[in-house]
């Protein structure tokens, strides 16, 4: 079911016309009202009037996280403060927090977008939704809450924490849809089991899970553990929060709400759009945001577009589940490599821990990549054939996601150094003077 079928299933031609009109409107508004954009456009010699098709978007300068940071707290707002009715902020784990503002109209549209998300997961006004995303400056809680109310569902604003109470509410209130992070869904399942509650016997039937990376294997585990359909949702506060893109029940890529957000996939190195279906950095341009529109915002998330039309009938194109961050991009033999993709592979293979290290060396003119992977302590170490088969499988699957030749070395359990913050995943021993990257 679609919440707004006339919009979500509109013909591509009409959609693209709408996108162009909204793009021109947005560009005009930010140029008039946001000094940072005006300076960027002027500096690049970019003329608003020259935008006559969506293809002209590639000439518009990018926006990056640092632009938002430097404008802290209100510098990127495109309307006077009295028109802003709410702010949220990013977590600030990697630096200065960024503040995003919403007008009444933004909140209204955001509610629609999140209602679409629930409907795409199969939810209706008859559902009972438990929201365990944190309520507060984080966009997850209130975004999920307003969308659920907009759908007309009974909405339970539990927020995060106190997992036993979550299980109690889930059981006593007859909850049918759970909104939380995938890892929290797992914890709820484990806690329920400890409490002697069989979630599979409860009315719960769907979960909308997002705000952190997860894998297909983890999805299957959660679906089995909770007896539900698990739906991947995507969003980021700089764009709007959750509701940017969401899977439908086909579970094959996330439909981007293209009537509100333009998506591009670019090579993070050259910043040129990649051919359709190739991996690159996800870039969004908002089309209807009033409080804080963003123009070609580089998300640093890595994904690719999914080809073809979806059986659900939505005409919005789909992006694949986000599987990496550009922050850890490497260039190996001229190919962009995203080591965080390795983690996704490891999560799907039994017998290995999700810890790895990439060792880069140079032999002659050639870059050499060796991936160290930890075997789990409970592996049947006597089985040399099983170890060799594991190594072959790892090598094949890692090579298929990285698209470069790698060697895989199995290392002992817990031998890769753990880090409190950002783990040191890459050791680059290539000579800097010969073009290597020192990290």
């Amino acid at each position: 079911m679609a919440f707004q079928p006339d919009l979500e299933m509109m013909p591509r031609e009409r959609l693209e016309q709408l996108e162009l009109e909204r793009l021109r409107d947005t560009l005009g508004r930010v140029y008039a009202n946001v000094p940072l954009y005006r300076a960027k456009f002027d500096e690049a010699g970019f003329d608003l009037a020259s935008v006559t098709s969506l293809a002209d978007l590639v000439r518009v300068p990018f926006t990056v996280k640092d632009d938002l940071r430097s404008a802290y707290p209100y510098g990127m707002f495109a309307v006077p403060l009295h028109e802003i009715v709410r702010v949220h902020s990013s977590s600030g784990t990697t630096g200065q927090i960024t503040v995003v503002g919403y007008t009444r109209g933004d909140i209204d549209r955001w509610s629609d977008l999140m209602a679409r998300t629930y409907a795409a997961a199969g939810a209706t006004a008859d559902d009972i939704v438990q929201v365990t995303y944190g309520y507060g400056l984080f966009t997850g809680g209130l975004g999920a809450h307003y969308g659920s109310e907009r759908l007309g569902a009974l909405t339970i604003p539990v927020s995060g924490g106190n997992t036993k109470r979550q299980v109690q509410i889930l059981k006593d209130f007859g909850v049918t849809v759970l909104a939380c992070t995938p890892s929290y869904a797992q914890l709820i399942g484990e806690t329920a089991a400890e409490m002697g509650v069989d979630i599979r016997e409860l009315p719960l039937r769907a979960g909308v899970f997002g705000a952190e990376p997860w894998s297909e294997n983890m999805r299957r585990q959660i679906e089995d553990q909770l007896g539900i359909k698990a739906i991947d949702i995507y969003g980021l506060s700089e764009v709007i929060g959750p509701g940017v893109a969401a899977e439908c029940t086909e579970q094959n890529g996330l439909h981007v709400n293209e009537d509100h957000f333009l998506i591009e996939i670019v090579d993070p190195d050259t910043l040129k759009p990649v051919p359709d279906g190739e991996v690159g950095e996800v870039v969004f341009t908002t089309l209807t945001k009033e409080g804080i529109p963003v123009i070609r915002y580089r998300t640093r998330d890595i994904s690719r577009m999914v080809a073809g039309e979806c059986d659900c009938g939505r005409t919005f194109r789909r992006m694949q589940r986000v599987f990496g961050r550009t922050d850890d991009m490497l260039i190996v033999r001229g190919v962009n490599v995203f080591p965080s993709q390795i983690e996704q592979v490891l999560m799907d293979i039994p017998g290995v821990a999700p810890h790895y290290q990439v060792i880069l060396t140079r032999e002659g003119a050639l870059d050499n990549v060796e991936v160290h992977v930890e075997v789990t302590p409970d592996f049947a170490f006597d089985e040399i054939r099983a170890l060799e088969a594991l190594q072959r499988r790892l090598r094949a699957e890692i090579m298929s996601v990285l698209a470069v030749q790698v060697g895989v070395k199995l290392v002992e359990p817990k031998s890769i150094q753990r880090s409190e913050g950002k783990a040191k995943r890459v050791v680059d021993l290539r000579d800097v003077s010969k073009g290597g990257i020192l990290r």
Partner: protein, 143 residues
């Protein structure tokens, strides 16, 4: 049935020595020892005098350890001794995955360690043929 320790060893210099050191520090004596190696890693197979204590010490030191059930067979220390044992196992349809041997001091028999797919059948066939299967208590302390 004998508890053998199988220890995963990264392919790097000194790792085997570290393993031996951990066992020594824990007061464990190795009765038999063999390393199977591939290009990328090794697996040390060890019979020690106190297997459970040794396993704990190795795991505490960060080693990946599996306890594997093997059988120990007394083989007369003369030409053809091993061939006879293997013949018995072969006739019983028992497939040997790997084997190694050690000789007890002041003894006229060698002890051969066999890892087989079906230890129960193997032991029955060996005993029926009058071949001595060594109980665990003769090889190490039953900790």
């Amino acid at each position: 049935m004998i508890d053998q320790l199988s220890v995963f060893l990264e392919n790097r210099p000194g790792r085997l020595a570290e393993m031996a050191q951990v066992l020594g520090d824990a007061g464990n004596n190795m009765r038999a020892f063999v390393v199977a190696d591939t290009a990328e890693f090794g697996v040390a197979r060890i019979i020690v005098d106190r297997p459970q204590a040794a396993r704990g010490a190795l795991q505490d030191a960060g080693f990946g350890v599996t306890v594997t059930q093997v059988i120990a067979v007394e083989v007369p220390d003369r030409p053809g001794g091993l061939a006879h044992v293997l013949d018995v196992l072969g006739r019983a349809g028992v497939n040997v995955e790997y084997a190694y041997c050690f000789v007890e001091p002041d003894s006229t028999v060698a002890v051969d360690i066999f890892r087989v797919e079906d230890p129960g059948t193997a032991v029955a066939a060996l005993e029926a043929a009058g071949i001595g299967v060594v109980p665990a208590g003769d090889i190490y302390e039953m900790d």
